[in-house]
């Protein structure tokens, strides 16, 4: 009851304040009258009585204020008053308010968006049971010099690890795979990305199927029943979310598979491209399943309670060494290594994301400093007012609070707009990022909102505290004494502003340098020469199912008729077939030996990418023939023991010698056989972001179903290559209507896809840097204009005494550029440090790239001079008479 009463009272006090104040006045008046009456009764005259009463009563206004301050929710009134006061000050200069709010909105919006992404991708736990206990296991080759030391695992190694070590609670394996998917009657053909998962994978992860069941141990054996699990997206897209598909059949590479279950929507591991899962063992031939030197699998392990990942892995590692010793002639790794699963998933995007978040944080800081700088200027103008209020007894805290309210208002309004913008932009931003892992997990949660709110408070404090404290400083007396005619102006304020400016410039330089480096690196990638024709080339993939195309003749017949039909199409200048076009990724490599130069152990075996190509491929893509010849049409079927090598291959393994006519021994078809080197062709890049790798080409016309069934058509066209994509597809479906075609891309597009992420981060950082530069320019202009206004009299006197206008110009310009130079020096050091931090995401660009540094310094100096010149010229044009008469 009492609480209700108190609340009612509080509300009344809040909403009926004027009436309550009037009553209080009445009450106090009555008290005074009583006192006067008493004094008169004691024999004083009415006048004496009144003054005596007033003396006893004290200051009625103060008494009223004291009483009112005991009322409830008084703080609210103070707040409302401060806000009203702040809002009034802000609306008096709407231009300033608008710019400040916009700047803060942009800064907070961008920072919130990136934090949302970083939080969801890098820090939120994976959507599995007890995800902190999951690690990924890899093999590690001691001699490996390339890569990151985490090598994918062979199926036999995985099976031995699982069977013979006990440090982990359980281990599961998966590998990428791909299928031609058709309906039960070969309808609606499409190519799907798939994965093979061991039967216990889903239980190790702690994932329950949405419908049906997961694999049984019997299904996960070579020759087991053909079963398939659908991903949620395929289930929705192709089967309309109808749960009755469980138990029905689909065809994968022409083989019927029974759908046994559907994975939940939340399951998008390892990425959202995987559309279906088949048992791990079914993706291998029986030999490959038992091979220790056949690396492609990813191993997930769950930690046993109380056993550390390091201890459990060392047991696996010891076993792996035994396996290595037992297979000394083959490429079998010596050790095993682990890393936490979350780290494994996000490793490629961690650095770029952190770089972007830092860049955006930098920009927010610059925005903050700018608002702070503008506020310092305004508070300087109000210095006298503040000093007077301080002299009249205004508490310093009250005054600071009042000024802070102003920056709080700016940041609060800006923050609201910013968070709103970020809600709109985050999804779009995440969508721009090619292959961002866990993109589906990105959402705004409580943590993000708390972060945004904290950011608003922090920016408000940062932007408001420096001006507030500096303007309410102890120098009240000095401020009052400082006559408006004084010449020196408030130098301390100028120093503060210049200090803020220096920091701002330094941060801008760091951002500019990082952006420049990223952009140069991106340009380097974009203009990278893949080593083949880049314009007017269309690529298109198909894979011949081994079930129908089970002999060499059938495979060759298909490939050759496709080529023949395409070459006859108008607009096609040349066409060829290759397993993987340049820029199309690693795909596959093989170890080999050179019989003319025997080696002893596998570590000295050589390794090169393997590709299959038809005789016309090299000419079609304009890959130059450097030596010897390419394949002929006669080198086909079993007369296929010929190989064409790349320049890098020749340089690396036949340094100086003529490789033509030499042999390499390689297990391309399963067993080791010698192949004669017939030609050397120019290098092509397998990935634009990686160095050239030695490559060997085998004849696609050997027609071996397993080795040559997957092919990419490359067509060199006269006009727009994409215009030919439909005619070429029609030719293929005329030959085999159930054969799906996929990855229809020009070489340009392949390059674009590979560099999409770099393009994204470079563009974003560049945008942040440009914005920061603009902010710095505004700040510089503001400070210098203010300084000139402050020094009008001084400059007037100088000119009156005979100073040349040129000298004045120089004076002001140098004054403005001094913080720029100091900031530039600090920024260059910071930029060099920043460059070193982002070294890992720079391609073909040194972190200390002189062109970038010079360009960015020039850019900053130009901007600085441009923003200084206007106030400087204005200063030099001051008319001494009007300047001195001023005020």
């Amino acid at each position: 009851m009492r609480w209700v009463e108190r609340f009612r009272m509080a509300l009344m006090m809040l909403f009926h304040r004027p009436a309550a104040t009037a009553r209080l006045n009445d009450e106090l008046e009555f008290h005074l009258e009583q006192q006067i009456a008493e004094n008169i009764a004691h024999g004083l005259s009415p006048d004496e009585a009144r003054s005596a009463a007033l003396r006893a009563f004290g200051n009625p206004t103060l008494l009223r204020d004291q009483t009112i301050s005991s009322w409830n929710l008084n703080w609210l009134e103070t707040l409302v008053r401060n806000v009203r006061y702040g809002a009034r000050t802000l609306t008096r200069s709407p231009g300033f308010a608008l710019i400040a709010i916009l700047v803060i909105a942009l800064g907070i919006g961008a920072t919130t968006s990136l934090f949302t992404i970083v939080n969801a991708v890098l820090f939120n736990p994976l959507p599995f049971r007890d995800p902190g206990k999951l690690v990924m296991l890899y093999e590690h080759f001691r001699a490996s010099n390339g890569g990151n030391g985490f090598n994918v695992v062979s199926p036999a190694d995985f099976r031995d690890w699982r069977a013979k070590t006990h440090g982990f609670q359980d281990m599961a394996a998966w590998r990428y795979y791909g299928f031609d998917l058709t309906g039960e009657h070969a309808e609606l053909p499409e190519v799907v990305e798939a994965a093979g998962g061991s039967w216990n994978l889903f239980s190790v992860l702690g994932t329950q199927p949405a419908f049906g069941r997961t694999f049984s141990p019997e299904e996960d054996t070579p020759g087991g029943r053909h079963v398939v699990l659908l991903s949620w997206s395929l289930f929705q897209r192709r089967f309309g979310g109808n749960a009755s598909v469980v138990g029905t059949q689909i065809r994968l590479d022409s083989t019927p598979y029974v759908i046994i279950g559907v994975l939940p929507r939340s399951f998008t591991y390892p990425d959202s491209q995987i559309e279906l899962w088949v048992p791990y063992a079914s993706t291998f031939t029986a030999e490959a399943f038992d091979a220790h030197d056949n690396h492609q699998s990813h191993v997930v392990a769950r930690l046993r309670p109380g056993v550390s990942a390091a201890a459990a892995t060392s047991e696996v590692s010891a076993l792996q060494y035994q396996i290595h010793l037992a297979n000394a002639t083959k490429p079998v790794a010596e050790d095993a290594r682990y890393r936490p699963m979350l780290e494994d998933v996000v490793q490629d995007v961690k650095t770029p994301l952190i770089v972007l978040l830092s860049a955006v944080g930098c920009m927010l800081l610059i925005a903050c400093l700018n608002v702070s700088n503008l506020l310092v200027a305004r508070s300087a103008a109000r210095r006298k007012e503040v000093a007077v209020r301080g002299a009249l007894g205004g508490g310093r805290l009250t005054l600071i609070c009042e000024q802070l309210t102003e920056s709080l208002l700016i940041c609060f309004v800006g923050g609201m707009i910013g968070v709103f913008l970020s809600l709109l932009a985050t999804r779009w931003l995440a969508g721009q990022w090619h292959d961002l892992p866990r993109a589906e997990a990105i959402h705004v949660d409580a943590l993000v909102l708390v972060f945004a709110f904290g950011l608003v408070l922090l920016t408000a404090l940062l932007a408001g505290l420096i001006p507030a404290i500096s303007s309410t400083g102890t120098g009240v007396f000095a401020a009052l004494q400082e006559s408006s005619r004084s010449v020196g102006g408030s130098t301390s304020r100028a120093i503060l502003r210049k200090g803020l400016l220096t920091v701002e410039i330094a941060l801008t330089v760091i951002l500019l340098v990082s952006a420049g480096l990223l952009f140069k690196s991106f340009l380097h990638l974009r203009t990278a020469n893949l080593g083949c024709a880049m314009d007017h080339v269309l690529t298109m993939k198909y894979g011949l199912p081994e079930k129908q195309y089970d002999t060499r003749d059938k495979v060759i017949a298909f490939h050759e008729s496709v080529l023949e039909r395409i070459r006859r199409l108008p607009g096609v200048q040349a066409a060829g077939l290759v397993s993987t076009p340049p820029g199309g990724g690693w795909q596959g490599d093989e170890v080999f030996t050179i019989p003319e130069r025997p080696t002893t152990s596998f570590q000295l075996q050589y390794d090169a990418l393997n590709r299959t190509a038809d005789p016309g491929y090299f000419a079609a893509l304009q890959i130059p023939l450097l030596r010897g010849r390419v394949f002929t049409d006669q080198e086909r079927l079993t007369r296929d023991h010929y190989v064409v090598i790349s320049k890098k291959f020749a340089d690396q393994f036949f340094a100086g010698d003529n490789p033509i006519g030499r042999h390499i021994s390689v297990a391309w078809t399963g067993q080791v056989e010698p192949y004669e080197i017939i030609g050397v062709v120019g290098d092509t890049l397998w990935s634009v972001t990686d160095p050239v790798k030695a490559t060997m080409y085998f004849p696609i016309l050997s027609g071996l179903p397993e080795q040559t069934g997957d092919a990419t058509i490359v067509a060199h066209t006269a006009g727009d290559p994409l215009a030919l994509s439909i005619p070429i597809q029609q030719q293929i479906s005329a030959l085999d209507p159930s054969l799906p075609v996929y990855d229809i891309l020009t070489i340009e597009q392949i390059l674009g896809q590979a560099t999409a992420s770099q393009s994204f981060s470079a563009t974003l950082v560049l945008a942040f840097a440009a914005l920061s530069l603009l902010l710095a320019a505004i700040g510089l202009y503001g400070v210098l204009s203010y300084l000139v206004t402050q020094r009008i009299r001084e400059i007037g006197i100088r000119i009156a005494l005979g100073a040349q206008r040129g000298q004045v110009l120089q004076l002001v310009l140098l004054d403005g550029l001094r913080p720029v130079f100091i900031g530039l020096l600090i920024g260059l050091a910071g930029g060099a440090a920043g460059g070193a931090l982002i070294r890992s995401i720079l391609y073909g660009t040194s972190p200390l790239d002189p062109i970038v540094f010079v360009a960015m310094v020039g850019c900053l100096l130009l901007t600085a001079v441009a923003s200084c010149i206007v106030p400087a010229v204005r200063a030099s044009r001051i008319e001494p008479m009007s300047a001195l008469r001023n005020e």
């Binding site: 009463e5 009553r23 209080l24 009450e27 009322w71």
Partner: protein, 107 residues
């Protein structure tokens, strides 16, 4: 003003509650009454009295009524919650004063 009249806030609350417990009084009468009863020792300053009255009202321990007898002013009286509070504060005051007496007189 002399030291004896500087009343600790809690004690002033107790005095006011006790004073208005007998009959409703206005502010001036409360101050006068305390002064009389204490034989002019306790002088309640207006600067303390009115903030205290308003604070007690916000707490819900006293209520204010407007009277129309001649000059309009506010009369304060005790609420039920205030009566309970008075009992509590009297108890703690007598414990405190006894304790202080024991220390000051005893040694």
């Amino acid at each position: 003003m002399g030291k004896p009249s500087d009343l600790v806030q809690g004690i002033l609350d107790l005095l006011i509650l006790k004073t208005v417990s007998l009959e409703p009084k206005h502010g001036w009468a409360i101050a006068k009454r305390i002064q009389q009863i204490s034989k002019e020792v306790l002088q309640v300053q207006q600067g303390s009295l009115y903030p205290a009255l308003h604070r007690l009202k916000q707490q819900g321990w006293i209520r204010a009524r407007w009277t129309e007898t001649g000059r309009q002013t506010r009369f304060y009286s005790l609420t039920a919650a205030g009566r309970a509070q008075l009992g509590k504060e009297r108890g703690s005051w007598s414990r405190l004063s006894t304790a202080i007496n024991l220390v000051v007189e005893g040694a």
